[in-house]
Symmetry: C2
């Protein structure tokens, strides 16, 4: 059983290093950090204990990689078009591709290009970031949920979860649709609003007007989920997300970090696509539509 | 027939000076600029020709003013509570109070405190600003529409319109409800969005996403107007407002100027109140609700 890590940033670098440290056969695709990691290995500075990988199977092109049984895709979804050339050389007929990305509709789009490939969603609950070439900082949490999208050989998913456990990563299998929409309940309000108002989660929740707005937006996601057939997410889940966020330390979601670092924001899979899916199911998300428009304006006028 | 100008800023200073220049008996209430104007008069720098008033009937307190037949209230609506003490000493039984302010619900609230007073709305279409103490800069437009709210003596309104004409100010009588809601169709999207996105009208309309958002917000106002009984505003009016704005020079609406100058924004009468009126009539304005929440957040965190 071997692994490919596509995208060795905060997420891919962390999970890949944990698997490698546990003795799994892991192959990392790198871009700008290839030379550094090839020579110096990977350093993980983690709340659960720092460690270093001396010899890393590092590659600068997928053409040089072995075919792999499990591929963890840890790209930003704005770069998914790269998968058209990255995946073919490393796919076996039974490879499981796990999309550890934000948003709604990611797997459906990949499946269109790779109709027979087994796909799953990886939903990472983790604060981690690449601090420097070859250096991953892991600040909190770390567990990952796996939602099966189109894998007809369930034993591969069991192996993945088992390997994660051996690597001291808490991993659970969850229902795909429910998991993607549940994550959207948090992601859609907080990612965009922290960019639109240049703020952080705690300030949004301390202000009465934006607290209500965040709740309204969460209810739009829940309404959309229900319209799309995911029935068991309700208002109590929105309240739980708000309460969980209230006890978190002030937090800048990934989109805010992308904005601050002048990287493209994941507007399409975080907003456009779920709004589109909901509309197809006859449900409108007006406040999140407005947020999408504001983000597109910000991306166009302030980020480039 | 004598006039009181309550608030001698860009609006009050301009219209009051035009009336005084035409020989009308005009009494100006001033605050910080009283000493300057008392001594130096008022200077109007206008696209239609500059002029200067040497002797201005200036007052620093309403208690010193004569009772007036027509009172033009040119305050920011955030200061309307001042009218509780300003109006009583200058009101006659038949005085007409013209509220030249933005928003929905202004007259209803004043009427509660002054149940027998004749009220009208003044809807000013003008670009004007106080440039310095006693100096008014008038850049463009200038006409004013008068909507009767509760005046039972129509001859006063006719006199006002006639006096404006003699003062070379284009003035027309319009339907109160229709005029207030029509102005809201422009005011609600552009005032708030230029603050929320720190931009100007032209940039909002050049961006495809925000152009659509502005249109959506205008349609919310039109839906609210219809729910509140104003039936003759339709989508064509929104398109006209957008097209009219496209040919305007890049423009910062009054709320953006208030924001830039660290003055309180007129969130209540421009957003809270119309949203409330619509809701009472069974109509929701989700995108403008979101804009209200964003503005309240901005007022709370960035403006003070």
């Amino acid at each position: 059983m071997n692994y490919a890590i596509i995208g060795t940033g905060g997420i891919g670098g962390y999970y890949g290093s944990k698997l490698a440290k546990a003795g799994k056969d892991v192959h990392f695709l790198l871009h700008s950090d290839y030379d550094y990691v090839k020579q110096h290995g990977l350093q993980v500075n983690s709340v659960n204990g720092d460690f270093h990988l001396d010899n890393v199977n590092a590659y600068k092109s997928a053409d040089e990689m072995p075919k792999c049984d499990i591929i963890l895709v840890c790209l930003k979804s704005v770069n998914n078009s790269l998968l058209q050339t990255i995946l073919p050389p490393i796919l076996k007929p039974s490879t499981l591709v796990v999309m550890i990305e934000n948003g709604i509709g990611v797997e459906a789009d990949i499946q269109e290009s790779f109709p027979d490939t087994y796909l799953a969603a990886g939903l990472a609950f983790i604060c981690t970031a690449k601090a420097a070439p070859g250096v991953i900082n892991h600040q909190c949490y770390g567990h990952i949920n796996i939602g099966n999208y189109s894998c007809r050989d369930h034993s591969i998913i069991e192996t993945l979860i088992n390997d994660f456990s051996e690597a001291e990563v808490v991993a659970n299998e969850v229902n795909y649709d429910e998991a993607r929409w549940k994550k959207a309940v948090w992601n859609m309000p907080f990612n965009g609003m922290t960019v639109a108002l240049k703020t952080q989660t705690d300030v949004l929740l301390r202000n009465k007007s934006t607290l209500q707005l965040i709740k309204d937006q969460m209810m739009e996601v829940i309404g959309a989920a229900q319209a799309c057939g995911v029935k068991n997410i309700d208002e109590a889940f929105a309240d739980k997300m708000i309460n969980d966020t209230l006890v978190m330390t002030p937090y800048s979601p990934s989109m805010r970090l992308d904005y601050d670092n002048h990287r493209p924001m994941e507007i399409y899979y975080l907003y456009t696509r779920p709004i589109e899916e909901a509309r197809k199911a006859g449900y409108k998300m007006p406040k999140l539509e407005m947020l999408e428009a504001e983000l597109r304006f910000i991306a166009m006028t302030q980020n480039n």
